[in-house]
C-alpha cells in the first residue's frame, strides 16, 4: 500500500483541501475569459497561470466541468497521424501526458499500453506505412508489423487469413495509451484554481461583446463580464459561439457514439482498432471494454443514442473478438463533435481581435488536451501563435492548404 493512502485511513472525513474549491465571487472583469470548462479550457487556464503568471482568469462552464467531450471520449492518447504537422503536435501532447500526473498531483492513470491498428487490405497497408515512416522520422514509436507479431501482441485477436477482413498487417504505435479522462479535467481545474483561476459552473455564455472588431467581454446568464481576451474551447458548440462573435467556422457538428461492457477479467492489453471495420476496443483498468466507432451519418446537436450504430459497431467488434459474444454491453452514450473538412483542429487567431479559437476538435480533442492548453496559453500570453500551432490556423481554409488527417482519424480516436 502506498504511503499516501495511510492518511485517509486515519480520518473519517477528507482533509480540507478539496479538488474544486467553493465557487468564488464573479468579478466584473478578467484578463482572460475562457468559455468552456472542459479539459481544453481548464488546461489553457492552468498554463496561463503556471507558465505566464496570468491568474486573473475566469473559466465559464455552462454545465459542470469536464461534462462535455472530456468526459465522453474513449480516453485514447496517440500521435500516429500522417502529416508531419499533426505528428509534431500530438507528440508534444503525448510527452506532456507522460509527466502530467506528477505535475497535477493527480493519478491520471496514464498508461502507454500501445495502440494496434489493423490493416485488412493493401490500401490500408500503404496508409499505415506512411504513418509509420512519418512517425519514425519525427521520433515517435511506431512501426508496421506482420501477422505473427500481431498475434504475439494480442493473442486474443481473431486472425482470419481469408475472407472479407483478413488481418494483413498492423500499425503498432507503442506510444499509444489511455488516461482517465475526468481526472485530466479535474487535475487542471484543481491546480488552476489553486493559482487563483476562477472556475464557474452552470454559467452559460449568451453573447460575445465585440467593439471595433475586438472582443471585450462576454454576456452570461449571470451578467456581463469584461475581458482582455476571450478564448472559446467549447467542443460540440464551436460554431454557435463563433456565431456570437460574428463569424462562421468550417465546422459541421455530428454525434459520436461509444459504449462500454460490464467488467470482465483482463485479457486485452493494447488498444486495438480497425479503420475498415470502424471499430476500436480497449479494456479499462476496471475490466470494462470500451468500444467506439465512426461518427454518426448526419449532423445533429444531440447526444442521443441509436440502436443501428450499436448493432453495426458490435458486429464489427465481434469480427475481431468473436469470443465476446456472451459479454454484456452495459451502457452507450454520445458526444457532440465539431468536424472540420480536413479532420484537423483549428487553433489560434480568429477574425475578431482578442478572440482566440480552440475548436474543430472532432473526435480527437482529449489526446491533445495538455498541448493545446499549453500552446494556446502561450499564444494568448505572448499574443503570438507558436510555430507548432501555425499549421492549424483558421486561414488554411482560405488558401486551401489543409492538414488532411481523414485517413488517420477514422474510427481510431
Amino acid at each position: 500500500m502506498p504511503f499516501g493512502l495511510l492518511k485517509y485511513g486515519l480520518r473519517r472525513r477528507y482533509p480540507a483541501r478539496p479538488d474544486l474549491p467553493p465557487e468564488p465571487d464573479l468579478r466584473p472583469a478578467y484578463d482572460v475569459v475562457i468559455v468552456g470548462g472542459g479539459g481544453h479550457g481548464l488546461a489553457i487556464a492552468y498554463y496561463l497561470a503556471r507558465e505566464h503568471g496570468i491568474t486573473n482568469v475566469a473559466v465559464l462552464e455552462k454545465n459542470y466541468i469536464g461534462g462535455g467531450n472530456t468526459g465522453r471520449n474513449t480516453t485514447v492518447i496517440r500521435s500516429n497521424y500522417v502529416t508531419p504537422e499533426s505528428v509534431r503536435f500530438y507528440k508534444a501532447a503525448v510527452e506532456l501526458y507522460r509527466d502530467l500526473s506528477e505535475e497535477l498531483d493527480v493519478n491520471l492513470m496514464y498508461a502507454e499500453r500501445g495502440q494496434l491498428t489493423l490493416a485488412h487490405n493493401d490500401a490500408s497497408i500503404r496508409s499505415f506505412r506512411l504513418r509509420a515512416e512519418v512517425g519514425k522520422l519525427l521520433g515517435t514509436r511506431i512501426e508496421l508489423i506482420d501477422p505473427p507479431a500481431i498475434r504475439a501482441l494480442v493473442p486474443a485477436l481473431h486472425m482470419p487469413e481469408g475472407g472479407r477482413y483478413p488481418i494483413l498487417a498492423g500499425l503498432w504505435h507503442q506510444d499509444g495509451g489511455l488516461a482517465r479522462h475526468d481526472a485530466v479535467a479535474w487535475g487542471f481545474a484543481a491546480r488552476a484554481a489553486e493559482r487563483g483561476v476562477h472556475i464557474f459552473q452552470r454559467t452559460e455564455v449568451t453573447g460575445i461583446d465585440v467593439e471595433s472588431g475586438r472582443a471585450v467581454g462576454v454576456a452570461t446568464n449571470r451578467g456581463r463580464i469584461a475581458a482582455g481576451a476571450v478564448v472559446q474551447a467549447v467542443a460540440g458548440y464551436s460554431s454557435l459561439l463563433a456565431k456570437m462573435a460574428g463569424f462562421r467556422l468550417p465546422i459541421r457538428t455530428y454525434p459520436l457514439q461509444a459504449m462500454v461492457t460490464e467488467p470482465v477479467k483482463p485479457f486485452l492489453e493494447p488498444l486495438v482498432s480497425s479503420a475498415q471495420l470502424h471499430a476500436y476496443v480497449s479494456q479499462t483498468a476496471r475490466g470494462e471494454l470500451v468500444i467506439g466507432g465512426g461518427s454518426d451519418p448526419y449532423e445533429l446537436y444531440s447526444t442521443r443514442s441509436t440502436l443501428d450504430l450499436k448493432e453495426s459497431l458490435i458486429q464489427h467488434t465481434l469480427e475481431l473478438f468473436p469470443f465476446l459474444a456472451n459479454v454484456k454491453l452495459l451502457r452507450q452514450w454520445a458526444g457532440v463533435t465539431d468536424m472540420t473538412p480536413d479532420y484537423s483542429p483549428i487553433m489560434g487567431e480568429s477574425p475578431v481581435a482578442g478572440y482566440w479559437l480552440d475548436a474543430g476538435w472532432g473526435t480527437y480533442g482529449f489526446k491533445a488536451t495538455p498541448a493545446s492548453g499549453r500552446y494556446m496559453a502561450r499564444a494568448i500570453a505572448t499574443n503570438r501563435v507558436p510555430d507548432i500551432l501555425r499549421p492549424f490556423a483558421l486561414d488554411r481554409f482560405r488558401s486551401l492548404a489543409l492538414v488532411n488527417e481523414m485517413g488517420a482519424t477514422a474510427a481510431s480516436h
Binding site: V264, K310, T317, F323, N326
Partner: protein
C-alpha cells in the same frame, strides 16, 4: 429432494421435474423452472459471488437481477445473472471474482483496508515515482479488476434478429400493462405485450397488496385470461424491452434474438424497482429486498430463511411478514422504521398472528457469521446503548420503498422530478405517443420511507453494491468539490456498475442533496442511457451482414488458380498462381501482355449511362475535359475533381450518340460518382438521364500486341484493324453472338480492347475468348500485373497515387484540364490552389538495383519529409525498379536526385525520370 428450503406452491417450478446442476463443483438438485439463484437458495446456498472492490460475499438481493450481487460464471460466459437464468441439466455454475474458493477468497483482505481506500483513492496515489502507475500499480489493479472471466475460445453461438411492427407496444405485463393491452386491443389496435418474466402478471404473481391473496390472484387470472383470448394481442414473455429509440423503435431481446420493433405508440408499464435500505452490513447474504423474499416464496417455492426479521419502511413489509409466516419461517420481529405504527390491514393481521412489531426503530447493523446473516442490531426509540438490541435471524427482508422503473421513459426523453411527499421520483416530459401506466406513472405506489439511511461509525453501509460504495464515499465526493451528481458519479463511480444505478441512484441523490443543501429533485439522477439491462454483444451483432460482390467470371478466376483480393465490396483476381511464387506470377503476366496478349476482368469498373439532349453539357460540367466536341464512336479520358479541386475519380467516356455517353469509373468510385452526378443534376436540372449500369455489364480488357488475333475471329459487325477501329475508338457490335461495347483503351500501354457485355454473358464471353485466344498465347492477368503495366506507362491510380489533396497540377495532369471551359466542378477552387501552390509534385523515378523500396517510403529533403512513394515495382519490361512519388516541386525535373528512406532507416538515391517509363511515344497502344 430439491433442497431443504423447498416449499410447495412455486408458480414457475415443476416439482415433478428435478434438474441436477453443479455450483462450485458440487452437485445440487433444483426443479425445472428454477433460476440458478432460486435453486441454490432452496439448497441453502447463500453466497453466490464476491463483490467488485472488497471481495465481500454476496447473494440474492432482488431476485430480479437488478444488481450485481448474484452474478455468476458459466463456462465461456461471465457475469450471468443467477436470479434470472434458468438451470438446465448439467449446468456448471461458479461464483465470480475470488481467488482460492468462493467461501475463502484470498482477496477478501481488501475489505479490511477499505478505510485506506476512500472514494477516488486511486487518483491520490500510485503515480509516484514517475511511471509507477504503468510499471507497477496498474498491472496489480488490473489483476484484481473485472468480475467474471471470458474464455478466449468461447464459440460465437447463434444469434439473430427479426423486425416486428405493432400499433401499440405495451412494456410490462403486470396489472397496468395487461389492462393497457386489453384497452388498446379493444380499440382495434394490434398490440405487442412484452414482459421480462416467464409468465404474465407482474407483482400480482408474488406481491401481497392485501391480507388475503385470493382477490389478487383472481384479478391476475382474469386479466391474463382475457389477454390470452384476444387475437390482436401478441404476448412476448421472457423478453426484455431494453431500449427506446427515435420514432418508437424498440430493442426487445428474447433469448438470443433481437426484435427490432416499430410501434405506433408505446405504453410503459414497467412497474417499479424496490429500493434497499442503507445500513452497515446491508450487503450480507441473507439481507434482501422484501420483494425478493416474496419472489422466492411465490414464484419458486423456496423459503428464503428460517428465522426472519422484516425491516419495514412501508406497509408492504407487513405483507412480506405474512408471506414469510405462510412459508413456514419464523418472523422474529418487524422493525418498523417510521415513527407511527402502521394501520394497514396487513399490519393488523401481522399483529394478530403474534409477530413482534418494534415501532419507531432504527437499524444499527447486520452481523454476519461465516459470510451469512446471523443477527440484526436495531435501536428502539429511547435506547441509548451502543449496540442496541441484536435480533438473531438468517433473513432480513427489507421493504422501504420503490422507484418507478424510469429507464425506458428517460431514454424516450422523459425527465424526473422528486415527489417530496411520497419520496420517490415522478416522470414527466414524454414525447408524443409514449405514455405511462400503473406504478411507472406513480399510480398505487404509496409513499416511500423518506430516509432509510443509517450511517455507522465503522462504515460498510453500502449505497452501491456493484461498486462497494459506502455513505462516506458519497459524502466525501461532495466534500472534495464534486457537487454535481454527474461529477459525484464520475468521481465515485456510483451507478457505473452492472446495475446502472437502479439501487443506488435514489440514495446517491438524497445524500448529495443533503450535503449540498439542495432538493433531491434539483440534484436529479445521472442520464439514463440504453440499454436497460446488460445485453449480450452477440445479440447486438446477430448473424452479421456484409454484402460482397463477385463478377460474372468469378468462378473462372478461381478455377484458374487466382489469388483473390478485395476492392471495395468486390472480389478481384490479384494474380494467377500460388503465394510462394507471387512475384514470378506477376512478372509472367506482365510479360505476356507486353509480348503476346493478356486478359483482365474489368467488370468491377463502374459504368454510367448519360443520355439526353444535355448529355455533353453535363459531362462538361462533371469532368475536367471537354466533351461537347467529342465525336461519336470515340472515347476520351475523364478526370473528376471535387469542389476543393482534388482528384477523386477517373475513367473514360464513350460517345455512342449525340445524346449518349457511356462513362466508366474506378471500381470503388462508381456508387459515389453516380450519387454525385444525381446530386448536381438535382440542382442543374439539365435534360439528362443518369443510370448506374455497373451491375448490368461484365467486361474484360484484352491487351497486348496479339490482341487482334484473339478478337478478330469472334467480332461481328465491326472490324478490329486500326483503320476500322482506331485507338480511342468506341463501337457497339457483337462478339461470339453477344451484343457488346468495344473500347480501344491504352491503360496498360499496349494495343488494347475493352469489351463490355451484359453481365449474364460475362462467363460466356470469358470462355469464348480464352478458347480462341489460346493459340495467340492469351493468359489471364490480375490486378497486380495491371498495376505494374500501368506504372510502366506512368498512369496514376486514383486513391493510390493521389490523396485527398492531390490536384491535377500536382499530378502533372494539366493536359486533362480544359481551362477555357467556363465551369467544371472544382475549377474555381483550382484557381485558388494555383495561387497557393503546394510544395510537392508527383514524379516518376527509377533506382539502381532492387532495394527493398515500399510504397509510402518517405522522400526526404534536408531531413524533412517532402513527399512519399505512391507506387513502386520491379519492372520486368525495363529490368529496373520504377515508381511514382511526391517530391519537392523544385526536384520535379528529369535527372534530379531524390533521397528515399527505406523501412529499415537506410536512405537510397533515386533519379527522377520523365514519364512514361515505357513506350514514351505511345506507339504501341495506337498500333
Amino acid at each position: 429432494m430439491s433442497g431443504v428450503n423447498r416449499i410447495p406452491g412455486g408458480l414457475l417450478v415443476d416439482a415433478a421435474r428435478p434438474v441436477r446442476f453443479t455450483f462450485e463443483g458440487r452437485a445440487y438438485d433444483g426443479l425445472a423452472g428454477d433460476t440458478i439463484a432460486s435453486a441454490l437458495a432452496a439448497n441453502d446456498v447463500r453466497v453466490l459471488s464476491r463483490s467488485f472492490k472488497y471481495h465481500r460475499p454476496r447473494g440474492i438481493h432482488s431476485m430480479a437481477a437488478w444488481d450485481a450481487n448474484a452474478l455468476v460464471q458459466l463456462p465461456g460466459e461471465p457475469n450471468v445473472p443467477a436470479e434470472r437464468t434458468p438451470i438446465v441439466p448439467g449446468l456448471a455454475v461458479r461464483g465470480q471474482n475470488y481467488r482460492g474458493s468462493l467461501a475463502h477468497d484470498r482477496d477478501a483482505w481488501l475489505g479490511r483496508f477499505a478505510r485506506f481506500m476512500p472514494v477516488g483513492f486511486y487518483y491520490r496515489a500510485f503515480f509516484k515515482p514517475h511511471g509507477a502507475w504503468q510499471r507497477f500499480w496498474e498491472p496489480r489493479v488490473r489483476a484484481l479488476a473485472g468480475l467474471g472471466a471470458v474464455a478466449l475460445d468461447a464459440p460465437h453461438g447463434h444469434f439473430d434478429k427479426v423486425h416486428n411492427f405493432c400499433d401499440v407496444a405495451v412494456i410490462g405485463g403486470g396489472r397496468a400493462g395487461l389492462s393497457a393491452a386489453l384497452a388498446a386491443a379493444g380499440a382495434g389496435d394490434q398490440v405487442l405485450l412484452v414482459d421480462h418474466n416467464p409468465v404474465l402478471g407482474g407483482a400480482l404473481n408474488y406481491g401481497r397488496a392485501a391480507v388475503e391473496r385470493a382477490a389478487t390472484h383472481a384479478e391476475r387470472d382474469r386479466l391474463v385470461g382475457a389477454v390470452g383470448g384476444v387475437r390482436r394481442i401478441t404476448v412476448m414473455t421472457g423478453a426484455v424491452a431494453n431500449g427506446y429509440f427515435a420514432d418508437h423503435w424498440l430493442a426487445i431481446i428474447q433469448g438470443s434474438r433481437l426484435h427490432r420493433v416499430r410501434a405506433g405508440r408505446v405504453v410503459l408499464a414497467t412497474g417499479a424497482i424496490e429500493q434497499p435500505a442503507v445500513f452497515r452490513g446491508n450487503d450480507i447474504p441473507g439481507v434482501m429486498l422484501g420483494s425478493a423474499a416474496q419472489r422466492l416464496i411465490r414464484l419458486y417455492g423456496v423459503r428464503p430463511g428460517r428465522t426472519a426479521v422484516v425491516v419495514a419502511g412501508t406497509d408492504d413489509g407487513y405483507g412480506v411478514a405474512l408471506d414469510l409466516l405462510d412459508a413456514g419461517a419464523t418472523v422474529s420481529a418487524i422493525v418498523e422504521l417510521r415513527p407511527e405504527p402502521s394501520r394497514d390491514p396487513r399490519a393488523v393481521a401481522a399483529a394478530g398472528r403474534n409477530i413482534r412489531i418494534v415501532n419507531d426503530a432504527s437499524i444499527i447493523a447486520a452481523e454476519a457469521v461465516d459470510g451469512h446473516l446471523a443477527a440484526i442490531a436495531i435501536r428502539r426509540q429511547g435506547d441509548n446503548t451502543r449496540h442496541g438490541e441484536a435480533i438473531v435471524c438468517d433473513l432480513a427482508a427489507v421493504s422501504v420503498g420503490r422507484l418507478p422503473a424510469y429507464q425506458l421513459a428517460l431514454q424516450a426523453g422523459g425527465r424526473l422530478d422528486y415527489d417530496d411527499a411520497r419520496a420517490h421520483f415522478s416522470i414527466a416530459g414524454l414525447p408524443p405517443g409514449v405514455t405511462l401506466a400503473g406504478w411507472t406513472a406513480g399510480e398505487d405506489i404509496g409513499a416511500n420511507h423518506p430516509w432509510p439511511i443509517y450511517p455507522h461509525p465503522d462504515g460498510k453501509a453500502f449505497v452501491d453494491f456493484d461498486e462497494d460504495l459506502q455513505i462516506d464515499d458519497i459524502e466525501n465526493a461532495v466534500a472534495e468539490g464534486y457537487r454535481e451528481i454527474e461529477l459525484v458519479k464520475r468521481f465515485s463511480t456510483v451507478g457505473m456498475g452492472p446495475s446502472q444505478g437502479r439501487h443506488s441512484a435514489l440514495t446517491a441523490a438524497r445524500l448529495v442533496a443533503k450535503e449540498t443543501g439542495r432538493r433531491v429533485g434539483d440534484v436529479g439522477v445521472t442520464t439514463a442511457r440504453p440499454p436497460v439491462v446488460g445485453e449480450k454483444l452477440g445479440v447486438l451483432a446477430g448473424r452479421g451482414f456484409d454484402p460482397e460482390r463477385k463478377t460474372a467470371m468469378h468462378h473462372r478466376h478461381l478455377e484458374a488458380g487466382a489469388q483473390m483480393m478485395t476492392a471495395g465490396a468486390w472480389w478481384r483476381p490479384a494474380y494467377y498462381g500460388v503465394l510462394a511464387h507471387r512475384a514470378d506470377a506477376i512478372a509472367r503476366e506482365v510479360r505476356a501482355v507486353r509480348t503476346a496478349v493478356g486478359m483482365i476482368d474489368v467488370s468491377t469498373l463502374g459504368g454510367l449511362e448519360i443520355r439526353g439532349p444535355d448529355a455533353a453539357e453535363f459531362m462538361n460540367r462533371m469532368y475536367t475535359f471537354t466533351y461537347t466536341k467529342q465525336a461519336v464512336n470515340r472515347l476520351r479520358y475523364v478526370l473528376m475533381v471535387n469542389e476543393s479541386g482534388a482528384i477523386i475519380d477517373d475513367g473514360v467516356a464513350c460517345r455512342f450518340g449525340d445524346d449518349h455517353f457511356y462513362v466508366t469509373t474506378t471500381t470503388t468510385g462508381s456508387d459515389r460518382v453516380y450519387q454525385t452526378m444525381l446530386w448536381w443534376n438535382a440542382k442543374w436540372r439539365l435534360d439528362v438521364d443518369i443510370a448506374n449500369a455497373t451491375a448490368a455489364f461484365a467486361g474484360v480488357n484484352i491487351a497486348g500486341p496479339r490482341a487482334r488475333d484473339v478478337l478478330a475471329p469472334l467480332v461481328e459487325g465491326c472490324g478490329v484493324d486500326a483503320g476500322a477501329f482506331p485507338y480511342l475508338g468506341a463501337f457497339e457490335a457483337r462478339i461470339a453472338g453477344i451484343p457488346a461495347r468495344f473500347l480501344r483503351v491504352g491503360f496498360v500501354g499496349e494495343l488494347g480492347f475493352e469489351v463490355h457485355v451484359p453481365a449474364s454473358q460475362g462467363e460466356a464471353l470469358w470462355d469464348a475468348l480464352m478458347d480462341t485466344g489460346r493459340g495467340a498465347g492469351l493468359v489471364p492477368f490480375g490486378v497486380e500485373a495491371q498495376r505494374v503495366l500501368r506504372l510502366e506507362k506512368g498512369h496514376i491510380i486514383v486513391g493510390q497515387d493521389t490523396d485527398a489533396m492531390t490536384t491535377p497540377e500536382e499530378a502533372d495532369m494539366l493536359w486533362a484540364i480544359a481551362a477555357k471551359k467556363p465551369f467544371f466542378i472544382g475549377k474555381r477552387a483550382l484557381v485558388i490552389r494555383d495561387k497557393h501552390l503546394s510544395r510537392r509534385k508527383l514524379v516518376g523515378f527509377a533506382v539502381a538495383g532492387a532495394p527493398p523500396l515500399q510504397e509510402s517510403n518517405l522522400v526526404l529533403k534536408g531531413g524533412n519529409a517532402v513527399g512519399f512513394v505512391t507506387s513502386v515495382a520491379w519492372s520486368p519490361t525495363l529490368n529496373r525498379t520504377i515508381g511514382l512519388a511526391y517530391a519537392a516541386r523544385e526536384d520535379a525535373a528529369p535527372d534530379r536526385s531524390l533521397v528515399i528512406r527505406l523501412d529499415d532507416g537506410r536512405d537510397v538515391r533515386a533519379t527522377v525520370v520523365k514519364l512514361p517509363f515505357y513506350d514514351p511515344d505511345a506507339a504501341r497502344q495506337a498500333l
